[in-house]
């Protein structure tokens, strides 16, 4: 094998290693996952019940409830990706393995993408359970739903989410104490501007401009249209996600590398305590 082929093979094995480790940890913390799932379902119900309180005719109530459920489900999915990415460094620091991971011959892109890949798979499983559990609980119907189009758009959006997540994952590296919290600030900002529970058009104009650069805006708009109205994959939602995906990952990686160098200069790349 050529040197390049060996390197590619090793990086792929490394990526598998990150996913495999997260599978082990998920198995070990399975009860935590059940508790977290219960909490997410309860939280989503509190949002979707708003449609019941609106005193609409049954068909309109079903549409509003489904639209809210789509928003809550995609937000839960996005939240998991952000949490996994932002806490990539924080978890390793807490467990004490950070130095071993960062001195290993694994490229940072592969390291972070491995974490993102698991987050997407794990997030999809949770989001699917959440969606169908709440829909069954409230007796919601989506007879025209185009789940294939929604899933395809979500898969595309996941790449953008991982790219944005890489940008936030550097925060705990440069600020061990406050970095993760700053990641939640970024996540909150995205929640506000992306139209999770309301159309983007109701926000002030300057917020609508920020919504244009949020991948969640297009994912929510497209998935809602596909599940509520059975709309196919629409190019108007696809191309912005493609552009954000292409830009966010290299920018995120460049930011991470600058942060990693800063951490190495200032001795912050080490375990907690």
């Amino acid at each position: 094998m050529s040197e390049y082929a060996i390197e590619m093979r090793n990086q792929l094995v490394g990526l598998f290693g990150i996913v495999e480790r997260n599978v082990y940890l998920t198995k070990r913390y399975f009860l935590w996952d059940i508790a977290f799932m219960f909490w997410t379902i309860a939280n989503t119900l509190t949002i979707v019940f708003i449609a019941r309180a609106a005193n609409l005719p049954p068909a309109e109530e079903n549409t509003l409830a489904t639209a809210l459920l789509v928003g809550a489900t995609i937000w839960a999915f996005l939240g998991i990706i952000f949490e996994f990415m932002t806490e990539t460094v924080a978890w390793e620091r807490w467990e004490g393995t950070i130095e071993y991971t960062f001195m290993a011959p694994l490229s940072r892109l592969v390291h972070l993408f491995g974490q993102g890949a698991f987050a997407v798979l794990y997030g999809l499983v949770r989001a699917t359970i959440l969606f169908f559990a709440v829909a069954a609980f409230l007796g919601l119907h989506a007879p025209n739903a185009n789940y294939g189009a929604a899933l395809a758009l979500l898969a595309l959006a996941s790449v953008s989410f991982i790219g944005v997540g890489i940008m936030t994952s550097v925060l705990p590296l440069i600020s061990p104490e406050k970095g993760a919290q700053l990641g939640f600030v970024a996540q909150g900002l995205m929640l506000v501007v992306s139209g999770v529970y309301y159309p983007v058009s109701v926000m002030p104009e300057w917020m609508q401009w920020i919504a244009k650069i949020s991948p969640a805006t297009y994912a929510l708009r497209g998935c809602r249209a596909s599940i509520v109205n059975g709309a196919p994959l629409v190019w108007a939602n696809v191309w912005p996600l493609l552009i954000i995906a292409v830009l966010a990952t290299p920018i995120g990686l460049a930011i991470f590398k600058v942060g990693e160098r800063y951490a190495k200069k200032h001795g912050k790349l080490k375990r907690a305590g």
Partner: protein, 292 residues
């Protein structure tokens, strides 16, 4: 060793055979930290962790660096393992610059630190498999390599699947040694590998280091504050004191140079202080300050 990560073999064969394992010239690293006696809001001051350190380690050699807490041992190990960037000077591992050629060096180096850092809920086997993946070892390879290496360090087979958090400190340190050797490093950095171990575990770990030297073509840099351990394991002994390397010589030459019989006496002769009396601040304190 039969358990060798394939990528490491490939790179190791391409190393410059003429280059020493480690070359360090005028290496400097300064942290900024507060004087804790001056209070929480005192200004940070420069604190030299390494000051113009120069030395060379030949391939296959075992060198021990002695020093107390805060002497700069961990900083040196972390610089050589590409986890820190120096402020000046140069460090090379098998001819590769630790800053510019970090990715090449990472394939050649592994380390064991004083804390056996693992995912605590995962088992010894799972932790080792995870670490091995970063070096290109597939599940098929680790299925045989992990039990083999754990057997070599004397880890009981029936405890391979137990969570790390249920293992004693000595057991965890054996797994840490197994992790370092699983990837067949050509430079092994041991940063206080036996600190905090009970006497029996300490002897077992030291015996294993001897075996590695005898059977495996590895260069070893052992940082310790245990003088007996340094004397028994190393070809040459260096003394790092407050960031300065005072000497690096075979133990007999050290004793001759100072006209003393023990390394404790040599430390006193070199520094004017008792080895035990020093209780300097560790580099880790700088980190705790970050969290504080």
């Amino acid at each position: 060793m039969s358990t060798i990560a394939p990528s490491t073999i490939d790179l190791a064969s391409r190393l410059d055979r003429e280059a020493p394992a480690v070359e360090v010239h005028d290496l400097r690293k300064t942290f900024r930290r507060r004087d804790r006696k001056a209070g929480r809001f005192a200004r940070k001051r420069p604190w030299p962790a390494l000051a113009d350190v120069t030395f060379t380690i030949a391939r296959g050699e075992c060198v021990a660096i002695l020093g107390q807490n805060g002497s700069g041992k961990s900083t040196l190990v972390r610089l050589l393992s590409t986890l820190l960037i120096g402020d000046g000077g140069e460090a090379r591992v098998f001819g590769h610059d630790v800053d510019r050629d970090a990715s090449t060096i990472r394939r050649l180096v592994n380390r064991v630190s004083v804390e056996a850092s693992f995912f605590k809920k995962m088992s010894a086997s799972e932790n080792l498999s995870y670490a091995a993946r970063f070096y290109g070892m597939t599940p098929r390879q680790t299925r045989t390599a992990v039990p083999e290496i754990l057997g070599r360090v004397g880890f009981p087979p029936e405890r391979r699947s137990e969570s790390m958090e249920n293992l004693s400190r000595g057991m965890q340190q054996k797994v840490a040694l197994a992790r370092a050797l699983l990837t067949s490093p050509v430079l092994l950095l041991l940063d206080e590998p036996t600190t905090g171990l009970d006497p029996r575990s300490k002897l077992e770990v030291q015996e294993f280091i001897r075996q590695v030297r005898a059977q495996h073509d590895a260069t070893i840099l052992l940082c310790t504050h245990d003088m007996a351990e340094a004397e028994t394991l190393a070809d040459r002994i260096g003394l790092l004191d407050r960031g300065r390397l005072l000497f690096l010589e075979p133990v007999e030459d050290v004793k001759k140079r100072f006209g003393v019989e023990t390394l404790e006496q040599a430390f006193f002769a070199a520094t004017g202080r008792e080895f035990e009396e020093e209780n300097g601040d560790d580099e880790d304190d700088e980190y705790r300050e970050v969290f504080g």
